[in-house]
């Protein structure tokens, strides 16, 4: 397949990972355009989270290629992938419970990432302003001095989204960002996500179809590690194969 480089920010081609012979992701290819919001849906065990793990380097691929802005990600270390501009949010909220909201955001600020850089790092006004700005975006501006352990589940999810935003990644990957939230939190999160996906490419894994229809530019349906269907929400929803394995019940 010969696809011109400049059109796509992320190219996933022939991606395969096999765990003891079981192919969790099997010869998967898809392409993400700049400023696109791609939603990945599919039944449990379809390999959705594994795809994100492969792109961000958490799991090593068996074969295939993942290029982000012409850089091959599969051979890079996790932190190098982050510095290339790929951010990842985990399914369960991963925040530093013993630190305050401010400190959580500060550690994600893209400065002082080496050992000696971290020793010399100082909180200047630029850092403070940026943290304040992000905290307002994620509705936590009044809780900056609170320990993350005392936040509600939804607030932890927002905090982790904020920790990604402060890095300003060009590609943001979110794993079930509204799972486990109350209806009110869900609405607020949808609003937040719509705002932050405006000027970057996003890959989202989500089960909530209303939410997916709301944000998706395009939808990829995964089934047993392979693409079952791909296209706009309407197209995917009317695809008989998708209805059979996923949406039907």
């Amino acid at each position: 397949m010969n696809v011109p480089n400049e059109r796509f920010i992320l190219k996933v081609e022939g991606l395969t990972v096999s765990f003891d012979g079981f192919k969790a992701v099997d010869d998967l290819s898809f392409y993400v355009e700049p400023n696109e919001c791609r939603v990945i849906i599919g039944p449990n065990g379809a390999g959705k989270t594994t795809v994100l793990d492969l792109i961000c380097g958490r799991t090593r691929a068996t074969s295939g290629s993942v290029t982000f802005k012409d850089k091959e990600l599969l051979t890079m270390r996790e932190d190098q992938i982050v510095h290339a501009g790929v951010g990842r949010k985990f399914q369960t909220p991963s925040v530093y419970e013993d630190l305050t909201v401010f400190e959580n955001l500060e550690l994600s600020y893209p400065k002082g990432h080496g050992v000696f850089g971290a020793l010399a790092f100082r909180r200047d006004d630029k850092v403070r302003d940026r943290i304040q700005e992000i905290a307002e975006t994620i509705f936590l501006e009044d809780l900056l001095e609170e320990k993350a352990a005392f936040l509600s589940h939804g607030q932890k999810q927002w905090l982790e989204i904020g920790m990604l935003l402060i890095q300003d990644p060009e590609l943001l990957m979110l794993d079930e960002p509204v799972a486990g939230m109350s209806v009110a939190e869900r609405k607020k999160t949808a609003e937040l996500l719509k705002r932050i996906i405006e000027d970057r490419s996003v890959i989202v894994i989500e089960h909530d179809m209303g939410f997916v229809a709301d944000i998706a530019t395009r939808v990829t349906v995964l089934h047993q590690g392979k693409t079952l269907s791909e296209g706009s929400m309407e197209r995917v929803q009317s695809d008989p194969k998708v209805i059979e394995v996923y949406l039907g019940h």
Binding site: C56, E78, D79, V82, G87, F121, K147, M163
Partner: protein
């Protein structure tokens, strides 16, 4: 602001410790007991390093005795060479080399002993040798993401290996007896009461240097990163940090502290032997840290002082019961006071003191430092 180097209560804590070490103990104790406390304080160097590695970073090393021993041996090698002048050793078949080498039929000083004729080199080696070994171990373990209990077991194996190596290479290391009969430092007799007193104060001053370095690291972004790594290592990694590099750094820093402690031990006690290197002393060092409070650098100092003092007092009267007592103490601390003495202080005593001294206006309890473990 929160990011200042020392908060008010921390400043008071440092001041109280300084009063105890530099004024109360020297006034209350005779020179024999003061020297004993000086020896206890050398373990505090290791315990402070463990607070950074284990308490903050979650890296439990059961082999800190290795670094304590390496630092101590580097110092002992210098002192031994100074004590082994041709005049002092004229009855040996090869005068001018350390006595244990002569007993083991060595006829010349091994090449790797030669640089230890220089005090400057030896002092450099006291820090550099432990750091070098910590770096090798750190790279080998952390780059491969070995952590937790596996790391602890491997460090313990290193403690065993070094002990066996020292005992086995008797001609080069003094074997099981260690390096003994150390006399002077650049002509200054370290065995006199006055010298021991001076060394006690040097030791105390060095301990404060180490405490300030530890405080600086804890208050820096690196200190917060260590806590973050302990709680959510993956999140740190996917925030763009090379986690292994930070672990190697803090492990090396702990090793450097331990090496300084070991060197001060040699100077004050007058010998270095493999019994201070192996598995048991390494575990004891972790107990000092746990009893004092593994999250508090000052707590670690008190832990080292108290446990060692108890050890000396109890083992004088009930030598066979001491180890059981130590084990019991460790279990009690872990079960009842997971944050050790420092935890008891910050959770029970400090709030009450604050309530006492601030009668009006409820003081905000700033002491909820319970880690979610």
């Amino acid at each position: 602001m929160k990011s200042t180097f020392l908060s008010r209560s921390e400043l008071i804590g440092f001041a109280i410790l300084a009063l105890i070490i530099f004024i109360a103990l020297p006034m209350a104790l005779d020179s024999f007991r003061l020297n004993l406390f000086g020896k206890y304080l050398t373990y505090a160097f290791v315990a402070v390093g463990l607070v950074l590695c284990w308490g903050a970073g979650g890296i439990l090393s059961l082999g800190q005795g290795v670094f304590f021993g390496l630092g101590g041996y580097c110092m002992a090698m210098f002192l031994k060479l100074e004590a082994s002048t041709p005049e002092n050793t004229s009855i040996q078949s090869t005068p001018g080399i350390p006595d244990f080498m002569d007993w083991n039929q060595l006829t010349e000083l091994p090449i790797w002993w030669q640089p230890f004729h220089s005090l400057a080199f030896s002092l450099f080696a006291v820090v550099a040798v432990p750091v070098f070994f910590a770096f090798i171990i750190g790279v080998a373990m952390f780059k491969r993401r070995v952590g937790g209990v596996y790391f602890a077991i491997i460090t313990q194996a290193f403690a065993a290996i070094l002990t066996i190596l020292i005992i086995g290479q008797q001609g080069y290391t003094g074997g099981v007896n260690g390096i003994t009969d150390l006399r002077t430092l650049l002509g200054w007799d370290i065995r006199t009461d006055e010298a021991k007193e001076v060394l006690y104060f040097v030791n105390g001053a060095l301990l404060f240097v180490v405490l300030f370095i530890a405080q600086f690291v804890r208050k820096s972004k690196l200190g917060r990163l260590l806590i973050a790594m302990r709680d959510q290592e993956d999140r740190v990694r996917f925030s763009g940090y090379d986690v292994a590099g930070f672990k190697i750094f803090i492990f090396c820093l702990g090793a450097a502290f331990a090496g300084i402690g070991g060197a001060m031990f040699t100077l004050q006690v007058g010998f270095m032997s493999p019994t201070l290197v192996g598995i048991v002393p390494s575990i004891e060092m972790v107990i000092f840290c746990a009893v004092g409070g593994r999250l508090s650098i000052l707590g670690a100092v008190y832990g080292a002082l108290l446990v060692n003092w108890a050890k000396t007092s109890f083992s004088e009267s009930f030598p066979e019961l001491w180890l059981l007592g130590l084990g019991g103490l460790f279990i009690a601390v872990v079960m009842l006071f997971p944050n050790g003495l420092a935890g008891i202080w910050s959770q029970h005593i400090e709030p009450r003191l604050k309530a006492l001294f601030a009668p009006r206006g409820a003081p905000k309890s700033a002491s909820q430092s319970t880690p979610a473990e």
